[in-house]
Symmetry: C2
DNA sequence: CTGAAAGCGCTTACAG
DNA sequence: CTGAAAGCGCTTACAG
C-alpha cells in the first residue's frame, strides 16, 4: 500500500544551520520573501544548492493549509477527446503552479466514488470532474455536500449546482442530423451512449428536433444505446442492421462510436458512406485520418479543458463567487463519411 | 500559485474526543490496527462517519515518512501509445494503493527537468519516466544522482543504470522492413523521430540490418528525421518525395508518423499502399481503423505500463534489489497499407 | 530584518 | 488494549 522512505531529505533546518540563520529566516529566503536582506537570502540560497535541498511542498502545504494539487477525474483515457481535454487542463493549470492528480473512472460510479475520496484524502485544492454517465443518487448527494471547489465538465449532474463547462450537445446533434437530412437521408439512426447521461439526453433532443423540423417521425427502433467505445459502436450497428427497415445513415454518440460503426460496416462487407452515411461528434484528431475521413461535429475538447481549469482556479481564489456555466457552440466538419 | 483553504476538515482529534478515546487510539482504529478492541474500533468508526471525517493521507505520510503517490512522466499524452501505457500503469498501481501524479514533457528537456523537481517536492514515492528523446547531459547527471526509486520506460538514457522496460525496437524495425522487402520493395524510407533518442537508434539499426541482410545498400537520403507527430510524418514525406529517386515504401518511426505520412500522400493525390507502402510501429487502436488499415508492429504499450509499474513497486519495496531490464518482443501485424 | 515558540494533522515509540 | 509525549518538515504570528 504505502512504502517506507529509505531516502533522507535535507531539511530546511539543516540549510538554516549551514547558513547560520534561523529556520524561520531560511523559510522566508526559500520562498523569496521581501522581508529578508539580499545578503541573507544569498547566503541561504548558496547553502541550499550546496546541500542539495529540495523544498517539501507537502509539509509546507500542511502547515499553511494550502494545496498545490488539483484532481482531474475523467471517464476514459483511451478516448482521444479526453486526452485533448487533459492537455487543455494541464496547460491552464500549470500557469497557476498546480500539479494534477489524475483519475479514470471507466464510467463506473463505484470507481468515481472511490476517486473522489482519494482526492479528498490527498488534500487536492479542487477537482475537475467529468461525471460518469450513470451516477448513483448517493454519489450525487455526496457531491452536493462536498465542500471543496469543484467544476463539472462535459456532463452535468441533475440538481447539482456547480460551475460547469461543456458543449451545447443539442445544437451539435441538430447540426449533424440536419446535415444528413440535407444529404437526402430519411431513416437516420442514433447509435451509442447511455440514456442516463445528460450528454446523451441532449443529443437525443437535438436528434429529435432536427427530424421533426422536416416533419419526420422518430422511430425509437433506430435509437440504440451502447457503450461509448468502438466496440459499443459495432454492437449498436449490428442491432440496427437487423431492423426490417434499416437506416441509411447513422448519427453516432461520438467519434469513437462512429469509428466502431465504420469498422462494423466493413466487417459486414459494407462500405461506410456508400452503404451507410456515418456522422460522429467531437472531431478528435483521428477523425481526419479514418477511412473514410469522418464527418463530425467539433466539440473543442482542449478548450473545454482550458476553461474548466480556469473556472476551477477562479473558484479556488474566490469560493463565494457566482456560479458559472460555459456552453461552447459546436461546429460541423464535413468530410467523406456522409 | 497556491491557495488558502477556506474549508475546515474534521480532525482525528475531534473524532477521538467524540468517541471518548485518545488521539493515538483513534489513529490505530482508523488504520484498522489489530491492537485495538472491537468495541473501541466500532466506537471510533461510528464517530468518524457521524462527524464526516476524512483521513488526511498527506499528514499521515509526512509523519510516517511514507508516500502514497507515484509520478508518471510521459512525452505526449496525445499519442495513443502513451494513453495505453497510462492505462497499464494505472491498473497496476491502483492494486498497490498508489495515486498517480501525471506530467507531460512534450519531449522538451526543460519541461522534464521541471517535472522531476515538482515530483520530488511533492514527495512521490517513485517515478516512472519516459525520457525525452533529447535529454541534456545535466539532466542525465541529475537523474543519476537521484535517490528515489525510478524506472525508465520506452527509452533508455545513456550511462544511466536503472530499471527499464521497453520493446526491442531493433527487432521491431527489422520485422517491419523485412516485411516490405518481402513485398518486393527495394527503396525503403525511414521517416520521423530524432536520432538523439535510443528509440530511434534502435529502429535505425533494425532498418539497416534488414536491408543489409538482403544485400541492399543504406541510402541516408531516405532517412528523414522529424517530429514524432502526424505533422512530422507529413513533413518527412514531403522531403523524401523530393528525392530524384523516391522510395516506394516507408517504414515510419511510429503509427502517429505513419498516419501523417498517409495523410501527406493523399494531400498530394497519391494513394497509400498503391503509390507507396506504409508501415508503422506501435499498433495503436487507430491503426486498425485508419484508411487504409495500417500495417504495423505491435509494441504492447499497455503491457509496458503494467510492467513499469510493477518494477517500480518492487523497487520501492526493496531499494537494494538487483536492477531489472525487461525487453518485450514486438509482433508484426499485417493490414492493407503495405 | 531576524529569532523563539507554537502548530498543521497525523503516527510512533514508550509506559502502564 | 489505551494514553501522554514527541516529532515529520514546514510556516505563522509575535517579539525584538
Amino acid at each position: 500500500m504505502k512504502t517506507k522512505k529509505k531516502y533522507s531529505r535535507v531539511t530546511l533546518q539543516e540549510v538554516a544551520e549551514h547558513a547560520g540563520v534561523s529556520r524561520a529566516t531560511a523559510s522566508l529566503a526559500v520562498r523569496n520573501s521581501q522581508n529578508i536582506s539580499k545578503a541573507t537570502r544569498n547566503k541561504v540560497l548558496k547553502s541550499m544548492t550546496e546541500l542539495g535541498y529540495v523544498y517539501d511542498r507537502i509539509a509546507a502545504n500542511l502547515r499553511s493549509q494550502r494545496s498545490s494539487t488539483i484532481g482531474l477525474i475523467i471517464t476514459d483515457i483511451a478516448n482521444p477527446f479526453f486526452s485533448e481535454l487533459l492537455i487543455g487542463v494541464h496547460h491552464a493549470l500549470e500557469k497557476h503552479g498546480y500539479t494534477v492528480v489524475l483519475g479514470t473512472t471507466f464510467d463506473l460510479d463505484a470507481k468515481q466514488d472511490k476517486l473522489l475520496s482519494t482526492m479528498l484524502e490527498h488534500r487536492v485544492g479542487g477537482v475537475i470532474l467529468c461525471p460518469v454517465s450513470d451516477s448513483l443518487k448517493e454519489t450525487i448527494e455526496r457531491i452536493k455536500q462536498w465542500d471543496i471547489p469543484i467544476v463539472h465538465a462535459v456532463r452535468e449532474l441533475p440538481d447539482v449546482s456547480c460551475d460547469y463547462v461543456g458543449i451545447d450537445y443539442k445544437i451539435g446533434a441538430q447540426m449533424a442530423v440536419g446535415h444528413l437530412i440535407r444529404k437526402g437521408h430519411r431513416r437516420i439512426a442514433f447509435l451509442g451512449g447511455s440514456s442516463e447521461s445528460s450528454a446523451w439526453q441532449e443529443r437525443k433532443k437535438g436528434y429529435c428536433t432536427a427530424l421533426q423540423q422536416v416533419g419526420l417521425q422518430i422511430d425509437e427502433a433506430l435509437v440504440i444505446e451502447n457503450a461509448v467505445t468502438r466496440e459499443g459502436g459495432k454492437k449498436a450497428l449490428q442491432q440496427v442492421l437487423n431492423d426490417p427497415n434499416p437506416p441509411t445513415a447513422a448519427f453516432c454518440f461520438n467519434d469513437l462510436v462512429a469509428f466502431g460503426v465504420m469498422q462494423g460496416l466493413r466487417d459486414r462487407g459494407l462500405v461506410p458512406s456508400e452503404d451507410m452515411a456515418v456522422v460522429g461528434l467531437d472531431d478528435v484528431q483521428e477523425a481526419s485520418i479514418s477511412n473514410p475521413p469522418l464527418t463530425t461535429v467539433s466539440s473543442f475538447a482542449r478548450l473545454i479543458g482550458t476553461y474548466a481549469a480556469d473556472l476551477l482556479h477562479q473558484r479556488i481564489v474566490d469560493p463565494l463567487r457566482e456560479r458559472q456555466r460555459m456552453i461552447l457552440q459546436p461546429e460541423l466538419v464535413v468530410r467523406d463519411s456522409s
